[in-house]
Symmetry: C2
Subunit: 238 residues, 2 copies
């Protein structure tokens, strides 16, 4: 690996540490099946996630002040329910429950043992666009052993803005080149690298389902490319 020692690791969470598509689809099916409403729950999850990047654009561009991702998720849910012709089947309480599907996402099988192994040597923290409350819910749901919950909320902005990485690094008390960003998304790593962080790529080839075409391979010069978080722990201990 290039350069000196690292002291901390920052992690993308949705897709990198947890399987949002499986978790959201499971709760969408769990909500609509008892109502005898026929929904393609994976298409619903994909459509909901599809509104994710556009929703953050206004905050990134400064057109809108920082709004927590929980609120953006709820706004996007309203849109998706209308698109799926389901707006009149879900009351406010149901919408709140569905929105919290984003706090009930299963970790990938290697996530908890991998993070636990990494934590024995490095400070590990989230650098997610999710709010602290969302990260807290996910951590307690999946047993993710974070040292700290950083990212968008403490920076009051969204990735891939450089300040999200830099304020997370600063909050840990470290320098950018002492910290490695770990993500399954090449664009996240390009932004982190531009901000001066080290980078590790972990492919998650089924994040978007069986027909995924994006982020199957590293497309940048990353410090580490690992099969999963256990392999990352192994490579960093060599």
């Amino acid at each position: 690996m290039r350069g000196g020692a690292i002291t901390g690791l920052l992690f993308d969470v949705f897709g990198t540490v947890v399987d949002w598509r499986t978790g959201v689809a499971r709760d969408v099916a769990g909500f609509f099946d008892p109502l005898d409403v026929d929904v393609d729950s994976h298409a619903f999850a994909d459509a909901w996630r599809g509104k994710y990047q556009p929703a953050m654009k206004g905050v990134r561009d400064g057109a809108r002040g920082y709004v927590a991702l929980d609120t953006l998720h709820l706004e996007n849910l309203e849109t998706i329910l209308a698109e799926f012709g389901l707006a009149d089947r879900v009351d406010q309480e149901g919408r709140a429950w569905l929105n919290r599907a984003w706090e009930r996402l299963p970790p990938w099988p290697d996530s908890v043992p991998g993070l636990t192994a990494l934590k024995s040597r490095y400070a590990i923290a989230t650098c997610s666009n999710g709010s602290i409350a969302l990260m807290l819910g996910l951590a307690r749901y999946g047993g993710l052993p974070w040292d700290a919950l950083l990212g968008a909320e403490i920076a009051q902005s969204y990735k891939r803005k450089p300040e999200v990485y830099l304020k997370s690094v600063e909050a840990m008390g470290y320098a950018p080149d002492e910290v490695m960003m770990v993500a399954a998304h090449n664009d996240d790593l390009f932004a982190a690298q531009d901000a001066g962080l080290r980078t590790a790529f972990i492919p998650r080839p089924t994040e978007h389902g069986p027909d995924q075409t994006s982020d199957l391979e590293p497309t940048g010069k990353w410090d580490v490319v690992a099969d999963d978080l256990l392999d990352l722990a192994q490579q960093l201990s060599d």
Copy 2:
């Protein structure tokens, strides 16, 4: 206990979870002993901590923007070194090392098992005047299993300002009356109670050494009074 169910616990840290006086005195002695400089290390620790509340006053009053406690600690260290006639014995590197004594504080014996027991049922987070970096250092030093590091830095203010409690509660995604503040200091609990939180008092009768006179007993109507964090876990599970 009064009211409905609680979902989260917020903790004061210095004095309540970690023994700052023992830890700081140990590192002060460890620094000066090899230099053959005779210092009353416990008096040094007490004097340093004595500057703590006055230093935060400017931030609380708005005379000064938010400055992390690490910086206030370093400013106070300069003052104490001068008062102890030691200013010319400690270079910048030594001052930085001494200042990080606040990240090397031993947990009280019940802290790690007590927090671990409490974490199995409740989200547990710091609500300290220490920065995220300081809390991260302490957690990794002592193995404190926090779910989240909240408090002064996310509120950009210092206890006992109500926003420090309220922004910590909000960051967890909870309502104030779902959260219990745990502290060894009655004034911390009065402020938390005024902000709408539940309260638990844990005496730490040797926080200030063998001759401590303050906070030996609860002086308010707290929801729970416990001998230590293990007893708190036991009482909350009843």
